[in-house]
């Protein structure tokens, strides 16, 4: 490794330290070897400017992207969570947008959190929002495209779900809670009761984010279609999983498809 790379690795490692660098005698000694310092700041103090900024910048970015999660946790637990996350999960993407990509999984492991399940739901919701917010655009499914699919081809037709659609099962009404937390000034927002739901999160062609609560059956079918399962096998798999709802699936599939296309969840049909 070159001398330049060695200094850079040394510096990059130190900047993620959780404690102030000038307090550490070893760091002070190393810093004085690599950094010049001046009559106003010691080498370690100069390095400390960057370390402080690492934490301020990344914490601010996470607060901006996860207002619901930080609102649930409160200052003390949020700081502990972020310190742990940034300490354990180093940022690897060139974009700050991706900083929270592993936060939902990290929150899952943090069972010390007071409202743990709620926090997990909120972290998942907020990361999904980030994902669909700037996902690829897709054109609306045209009626002519649907009409061009031969009747006999529908059984094995594959639906293409829009890139800006995400599916999320939650145990708490986190969408509503997030909105309240973002709007609340100093008034406390009560923790809601459990209220499991299957959500479809979607960015429309107007670029606004939408959420729609769907039934467990509809959610399961959409997920299979999203995974590339052809229409009939997907319906059969869902019917097997929800045997009491077989008639519902048969009766609703046409109407559902129409709705999914209208809502721009389904943007193409590929007939084999």
């Amino acid at each position: 490794m070159s001398d330049l790379a060695k200094v850079q690795e040394w510096m990059a490692t130190l900047l993620r330290h959780e404690r102030a660098l000038p307090l550490d005698a070893v760091v002070r000694e190393d810093a004085s070897r690599h950094i010049a310092g001046n009559d106003r700041l010691t080498p370690a103090e100069q390095l400390e400017i960057y370390r402080e900024q690492f934490w301020l910048r990344h914490t601010a970015s996470l607060v901006e992207d996860f207002p619901g999660l930080s609102g649930i946790l409160g200052q003390e637990d949020w700081e502990r969570l972020v310190e742990g996350y940034l300490g354990e999960v180093a940022p690897t993407s060139w974009s700050l947008r991706d900083l929270g990509d592993r936060l939902p999984a990290y929150v899952e492991r943090c069972d010390w959190l007071e409202h743990h399940e709620l926090a997990v739901d909120m972290a998942r919701l907020e990361w999904r929002y980030i994902e669909i917010f700037d996902a690829k655009d897709a054109s609306r499914l045209e009626a002519a495209r649907v009409a061009a699919v031969p009747q006999e081809a529908w059984r094995n037709a594959r639906m293409r779900v829009a890139p800006a659609v995400a599916f999320l099962d939650v145990r708490y009404p986190v969408v509503e809670l997030r909105r309240k937390l973002r709007m609340a000034s100093k008034n406390p927002v009560p923790i809601p009761e459990r209220q499991p739901a299957h959500l479809v999160l979607h960015r429309g062609s107007d670029h606004n984010l939408r959420y729609t609560e769907v039934s467990a059956v509809e959610s399961a079918l959409l997920r299979l279609l999203h995974q590339g399962e052809p229409l009939l096998p997907a319906c059969e798999a869902v019917a097997e999983r929800f045997p009491d709802d077989t008639a519902v699936i048969q009766a609703s599939i046409g109407r559902w498809f129409h709705e999914w296309a209208r809502r721009e969840w389904i943007v193409d049909v590929e007939s084999l």
């Binding site: 900047l15 690599h34 992207d65 959420y211």
Partner: protein
């Protein structure tokens, strides 16, 4: 054997157009920009904010592109780091260049992390031959890859390395000459570094190859007494305008951007700052024409005599806030 052809020998700004005076495109200004379509010569956009699939960021970019030229300014390339910029990053950047038809692309003379960790900061490099060699090789490759002229910005810094063997201006000059790339000359960064590291900022301004300056940045900063932080907060201070004036006198008409990234004021305030830049630029070009150059010594403000502020505990993030996911709309499944 004759000297190799270099555009720098023949044309100012490496032959790039003078786009006039513009401002950095920032999210809080979108409503005013789209409603009023203000008179701005061009916008500088933060590349990474638009290297996404679609949605609002690209929609907003499209609306800007309908009415204004843009140039791209990156904050994440980390060209001097232990590893070269990733191919994936460069491919996405090239896609954005083609999409925006940007005349040139800029990033910073810095590193941003190591061992796969990205610190999202503009970390300084030692001013030494090894760093020159590393950056020169990569800058050439980046310029070839992007298929448009590439320029590096002199970066603000809060430390210098014991391994440095040359002045910052020599470091910058050596790199841009050997890589045959442009300079995005940030005169505020010159001021910040002159204060933080104790040198004459005018020496920096005079020493760099002026024909390689394709763009200039002016911005505010935050003086904490012991050091200045390049926050891009607040108006440009007089000594920085002096450096800008001197730069234009030496380099001629160069595309200029006003950056304002923190405590972002209403658009009109930033536009007024751009008009200030335009006025100074026009004056400096007039002086340049008359060949009477230089800022009188008595007009210069001593570097260490600036107002000091209390400790700053806010992050500085180049480019201001990102477009972000906020309000969601409920719809009912039918």
């Amino acid at each position: 054997m004759g000297e190799e052809y270099s555009p720098a020998m023949h044309a100012p700004r490496l032959g790039q157009p003078d786009l006039g005076v513009g401002i950095g495109l920032r999210v809080p200004h979108y409503p005013a920009i789209f409603r009023r379509r203000p008179k701005v010569d061009f916008f500088e956009v933060i590349s990474e904010n638009f290297m996404v699939g679609g949605g609002k960021p690209r929609h907003h970019l499209d609306r800007v592109l309908e009415n204004y030229p843009v140039v791209l300014h990156g904050v994440s390339m980390g060209i001097g780091g232990p590893s070269p910029p990733s191919r994936e990053y460069l491919n996405e950047l090239r896609d954005l260049v083609r999409y925006t038809k940007a005349a040139w692309v800029t990033d910073h003379l810095c590193f941003s992390g190591a061992r796969g960790v990205h610190l999202h900061d503009l970390l300084p490099l030692p001013f030494a031959e090894e760093a020159v060699r590393v950056v020169v090789e990569r800058a050439r490759a980046v310029q070839d890859h992007l298929e448009v002229p590439f320029a590096l910005e002199n970066t603000s810094s809060y430390l210098t390395f014991t391994a440095s063997t040359m002045a910052e201006w020599d470091f910058v000059s050596e790199i841009v000459e050997r890589a045959d790339i442009g300079i995005l000359f940030d005169v505020n960064n010159v001021y910040v570094n002159a204060y933080n590291h104790g040198f004459d900022p005018f020496e920096f301004v005079r020493a760099i190859p002026h024909e390689r300056i394709v763009q200039v940045h002016v911005a505010g900063h935050t003086n904490l007494g012991k050091y200045i932080v390049d926050t891009h907060r607040g108006p440009v201070i007089e000594p920085v305008w002096d450096l800008y004036r001197e730069t234009i006198e030496l380099a001629g008409p160069v595309s200029t951007i006003v950056e304002w990234d923190d405590e972002i004021p209403p658009l009109d305030v930033v536009l007024a700052e751009a008009e200030r830049a335009r006025g100074i630029r026009d004056d400096a070009l007039g002086v340049r024409e008359s060949s009477v150059r230089g800022i009188p010594e008595e007009r210069r403000v001593p570097l260490l005599a600036r107002e000091t502020l209390p400790d700053d505990d806010r992050p500085w993030i180049q480019g201001g806030p990102r477009d972000a996911a906020f309000d969601e709309i409920s719809t009912r499944s039918e």
